[in-house]
């Protein structure tokens, strides 16, 4: 296997096809609050849906309107046009736009006589004992339903085995991020690598990462005019970062839900309460501002990452109509300023129609940092 696969920008269905050909199920999911460990334990291939390179989402727009976020709309488009041929969709209510992907897909697939497993996990938006208990029961319901669907009951042992694998991935991604810190992996490459997680089985992905890491350790650091961090709405297009890096910036860190935030620290398992451990982990992790009580913590994590990765400037990209990642500037910007780190705010759409504009803004920002 060649790790070059990690850098294929387009969505690859090769692995899903092979998996399904062996008689097993593959299910799509949206948002980081669907624990993949549960799908893996049910012997189902989790496929994180993305919208990379979707240039026309007009069919989905008819369902979701032009007021929807184009990332969410483009995912629906990919479900509708067969880019994704899966057995179902599991989602958490990450944001309302993501939620409506599921509602519309459930409706459209039913209308088209396409049998789908469709399930929505309720993920609380504050973290305390009551909410973790509720989330755990939601996850248990999901596990029961997935087990019945796949014919493989989700057991504690299967969950622990799945956690061992996803923890191994977390470990390997950590090593990739260490290389980013050493400027041996560019931001464009890093996003390609983390996006590949969406398309491959855990075992394939682990193998690809190991091969890549073995090679990449010997690289020389990349010369750059400014070290940057990128934060904001779901970004599943490495070309976006490429435009910035072509102007001399090196994106060494991120707080993206397709980047670092999709992995995070390892899950600590309490043998007496395996599902509870998963619930606690996923609800305590500060993935994005979908929750109401984690904003100061998210801001602190961003500032800490800036320090850890020697970041000189932060790019905050916001998808149009994305409220989830819309309101962080008010408190975050002064926090960053206190550390002498400027922030550039950019609006974008899923389809990168304004690359020229991005290049101009990025260049000016890098220029300012380079002085």
């Amino acid at each position: 296997m060649s790790y070059e696969k990690l850098f294929e920008n387009n969505i690859s269905s090769e692995s899903v096809k092979a998996w399904k050909a062996s008689g097993k199920k593959a299910i799509g999911y949206v948002c980081c609050h669907v624990p993949t460990e549960i799908l893996i334990a049910a012997d189902i291939m989790p496929v994180r849906l993305r919208a990379t390179n979707c240039v026309d989402s007009s069919d989905a727009e008819a369902w979701m309107s032009s007021f929807s976020c184009s990332f969410a709309r483009s995912i629906l488009q990919y479900l509708m046009n067969g880019t994704y041929e899966l057995d179902g969709l599991v989602q958490s209510d990450g944001c309302m736009m993501a939620t409506r992907i599921l509602d519309n897909w459930e409706h459209i697939s039913k209308k088209n006589g396409k049998e789908q497993f469709v399930y929505q996990v309720g993920a609380p938006r504050i973290t305390n004992d009551t909410t973790i208990a509720y989330y755990k029961s939601e996850l248990q319901d999901l596990a029961d339903k997935l087990g019945a669907f796949s014919g493989t009951k989700v057991t504690d042992d299967a969950l622990k085995a799945a956690i061992a694998k996803t923890n191994e991935i977390r470990d390997l991604i950590d090593q990739v991020y260490d290389l980013r810190r050493e400027a041996k992996v560019s931001g464009t490459e890093a996003l390609n690598i983390t996006l590949a997680h969406c398309d491959y089985t855990v075992d394939e992905y682990i193998a690809l990462l190991k091969e890549f890491l073995a090679d990449a350790k010997n690289r020389k650091p990349i010369e750059a005019r400014a070290r940057l961090m990128i934060i904001g709405s779901a970004l599943d297009n490495p070309e976006y970062i490429k435009v910035i890096e072509e102007k001399g910036g090196l994106v060494v860190a991120d707080a993206l839900c397709f980047g670092a935030k999709a992995f995070g620290d390892k899950i600590a398992v309490d043998d007496a309460d395996v599902m509870g451990s998963i619930a606690k982990y996923y609800l305590t992790r500060n993935t994005c501002p979908r929750s109401l009580d984690n904003r100061p913590a998210i801001h602190k994590e961003i500032v800490d990452a800036c320090k850890k990765f020697d970041v000189q400037g932060v790019i905050y990209e916001k998808m149009q109509n994305c409220e989830c990642w819309g309101g962080e500037a008010y408190y975050l910007e002064p926090d960053l300023k206190a550390e002498g780190i400027p922030m550039l705010q950019l609006e974008r759409e899923e389809h990168m129609a304004n690359a020229g504009q991005l290049a101009i803004r990025a260049e000016a920002f890098i220029e300012m940092l380079d002085k």
Partner: protein
């Protein structure tokens, strides 16, 4: 209802929002007194009560609790507090372009323009520090939407006061009700600490008394909803807007009295074969599927007058009220309160799966004999837009009614002019519905 006077503040100076609103409501009140309009005084009385209760909370020895989303207001009142529903700010100032714009523009410096103007207006007021009152506590929920989820955490920090958050489940089922009930239990110590009062037998008795009053108000509201089913519809579309005031006022005799007067008036008119609408004759029964157009409530009067088209119900204001039973059973009360929180307007249809909204709309079309369907879609409410086709397809398939889609900003009057909106609705009414225009 008389129209509020246009803006009367100096934009170069800080505004005291509450004082300004109280003054405006009072001037409408005085104007109506002098003009001798007793038959509609009750529509202003309730507004006067609402705003003065907020302004004078501390003067009257009460804590003022700002709130957003569904929260148990009857418990707050049982603890002798005044609940201040922050959404009443945007809905109140929506017709005042300058004041509304002042706050919306302030928020847009830090948050996306696509954010709901309901949240933008209240957050802008907080960012400018122009409430003009001290907020003793902030209680909010994690719903209705992503916009609110930008605004509430920011306001928590801006208000810098004790805060409590209710996490509302995505699904409104028994598990969800029990989940909210557990949080209501946790809310009690918060209220005890805030007020220094105990949740003892006396307090519980007060809570029961307030809940009984709330039951009265909601049962009248249900009777009013039934009255709107009459053909022709007796009550104008405007009343749907006014009745939303029940959210912060449930449990007060004032809101019960207002609703009672409205009901008596409606019944009387029905008995006399008359209506309070502006229709020369009712030709169409309209359902507005989404929000109320607070920035231009006059549009409903215009539809009545020019097309005989009465807004019989709206998707925002539709009340599936819960009447409390067995009030001395706290365990049961918590569950009922939880249920009532999840069934309030905007939460009942907008926050969970599309299926919920579909049910609300289906019920309205069925029970209110709707024959004109308008998706007057508030641009901020992107998640209801994203469910729009599922719902309007159902209306077409089940009721054979095509739906007009119009994009509006329910709060920001600058989004679309009255002329533009009238042209869009008029064109639909005349060319698709085939309506005669009485105003031509």
């Amino acid at each position: 209802m008389a129209k509020a006077p246009t803006q009367n503040f100096d934009p170069t100076k800080p505004v005291n929002m509450i004082e300004l609103t109280c003054d405006q409501v009072d001037s409408i009140y005085q104007h109506m007194l002098t003009k001798g309009m007793p038959e509609i005084m009750w529509t202003v009385d309730i507004q006067k009560f609402t705003w003065e209760e907020i302004r004078d909370a501390q003067k009257n020895g009460k804590k003022l609790i700002a709130f957003g989303g569904p929260v148990p207001v009857t418990i707050m009142r049982a603890f002798d507090c005044v609940p201040f529903f922050l959404d009443t700010i945007p809905t109140r100032i929506a017709s005042m372009e300058d004041l509304c714009g002042r706050y919306i523009d302030e928020t847009e410096k830090y948050a996306p323009t696509s954010m709901c103007a309901i949240d933008k207006a209240q957050l802008g007021c907080a960012l400018k520090g122009e409430f003009g009152i001290k907020i003793d506590a902030f209680v909010h929920a994690t719903v209705p939407c992503d916009s609110a989820r930008i605004a509430y955490p920011m306001m928590e920090r801006l208000f810098d006061c004790p805060c409590f958050t209710f996490d509302c489940p995505f699904r409104h089922d028994d598990k969800g009700y029990a989940y909210v009930a557990d949080q209501i239990e946790a809310f009690i110590p918060f209220m005890e600490e805030l007020t220094g009062l105990k949740w003892d037998a006396d307090r519980y008795a007060k809570f029961v008394e307030i809940s009984e009053e709330s039951n009265k108000a909601y049962s009248i509201l249900m009777q009013l909803a039934d009255l709107r089913k009459k053909d022709p519809c007796v009550l104008p579309g405007r009343m749907l807007v006014l009745n939303e005031i029940i959210a912060p006022l449930a449990g007060t005799p004032e809101v019960t009295a207002m609703l009672q007067t409205q009901l008596e008036m409606g019944n009387m008119l029905a008995d006399m074969g008359m209506t309070a609408t502006k229709c020369p004759e009712q030709r169409y029964r309209v359902c507005l599927m989404q929000n109320m157009l607070w920035s231009n409530t006059g549009i409903m009067d215009w539809m009545e007058k020019c097309y005989g088209a009465i807004t019989v119900m709206d998707g925002f204001g539709y009340q599936d009220g819960v009447l409390f039973e067995d009030m001395n059973n706290w365990e049961k009360m918590k569950l009922q309160l939880a249920k009532s929180m999840l069934l309030v307007p905007m939460i009942h249809g907008a926050t969970g799966p599309t299926e919920y909204w579909l049910k609300v709309i289906d019920k309205m079309y069925d029970e209110y004999k709707v024959n004109v369907s308008i998706f007057m879609g508030h641009v901020g409410c992107k998640h209801t837009w994203a469910s729009g086709k599922i719902v309007t397809d159902m209306i077409q398939e089940k009721y054979g009614i095509p739906t007009l889609y119009v994009d509006v900003d329910a709060i920001d009057p600058r989004y679309k002019s009255n002329d533009e909106l009238r042209a869009q609705i008029g064109e639909y009414m005349e060319s698709v519905v085939g309506a005669e225009n009485f105003c031509k």
